[in-house]
Point group: C2
Chain length 187, copies 2
């Protein structure tokens, strides 16, 4: 029987994020994360495959959120309106924990392998948006292009949102970024 340790996942995540910030991702071991959390390595591996997964386990839920929002967008919505609804849903979710997002982004920006992993995650999200649009009857290349464009819009908005000087909400920055894309593409 696996012993249940209440809150252990959250404690491990918190310990990992603190250590990545203090010593750098490269210099942090699973043993150190478990120790900081007051748990065993075995418990760590019950929750995460490796120390990288602590930074990326949220991708699946984010993808579900995006895909769900596209599926439930009004039938009259254009492809970009449906994608924008999805980005808004993601924006609201991220807004609940900006401090965590800022900290995570700093860890990622400091490590090339993590930057690459983040790019791959974003490409998978673009592909998931495109696929959700195809299920609404959107044809290619519009579906593929909307997926890519939506993720570009999100990335630019997210970069601004995690900047130290930012005081705007992520959903607002997403709207600004969508408007900027409209101007750029029309020009």
């Amino acid at each position: 029987m696996v012993r249940w340790e209440p809150g252990s996942r959250g404690r491990l995540e918190e310990a990992a994020m603190a250590l990545y910030a203090e010593r750098g991702y490269e210099n942090t071991t699973v043993a150190a994360i478990a120790e900081r959390a007051g748990l065993t390595e075995r418990t760590f591996f019950r929750h995460f495959a490796d120390k990288r997964e602590v930074l990326f386990f949220g991708a699946g839920a984010l993808q579900e959120l995006l895909v769900g929002a596209i599926a439930t967008a009004p039938r009259s919505a254009t492809p970009m309106e449906a994608a924008a609804a999805a980005l808004h849903a993601a924006g609201e979710r991220f807004e609940e924990g900006r401090a965590h997002s800022v900290q995570r982004q700093r860890v990622i920006d400091a490590n090339r392998e993590l930057q690459e992993r983040e790019l791959i995650k974003l490409a998978a999200l673009a592909a998931a948006i495109a696929e959700a649009l195809r299920r609404r009857g959107v044809k290619d290349p519009a579906a593929g292009l909307t997926g890519e464009a939506a993720i570009a819009v999100f990335r630019i908005a997210f970069e601004q949102w995690v900047a130290e000087s930012n005081r705007k909400r992520l959903t607002r920055l997403i709207d600004d970024s969508l408007a900027a894309l409209k101007t750029i593409a029309g020009g």
Copy 2:
């Protein structure tokens, strides 16, 4: 003194591409590439760092081409017009050797690590376009967003161009993709 073997780089590239297509990238060794080209492994390593570089050494020249086209675009060009000029320049260059591009794409599509490497290359090109636009005085977020959007446009056009059924020129597909982005972003 390093002995010069005329055409050895091209022979190695050709041998590598043939073997990647025949046995798969994973199952091809540098020794096999050198043997097929009638050269030594030592000669291979004078030209390429590893077997992956055979597929990616062109990225530097492509980036220079894009950046150069943006720098020399008319002063009156909008950010997206300058980026479109760069994509056109790239399109013309690729058009010279579609068979090679088709073969390379098949190798990449069959291997997850290569797909990831390709994504990272494309992200670097988007960043280079953005930086070239900033040197023309384009501010952020417009510069960053145009870089991302331009690469999304190129990717979609390139995917269509290497498809078996394709009969259109890459530059034409780039124009179609730019027009599609305009429609999508406006909607």
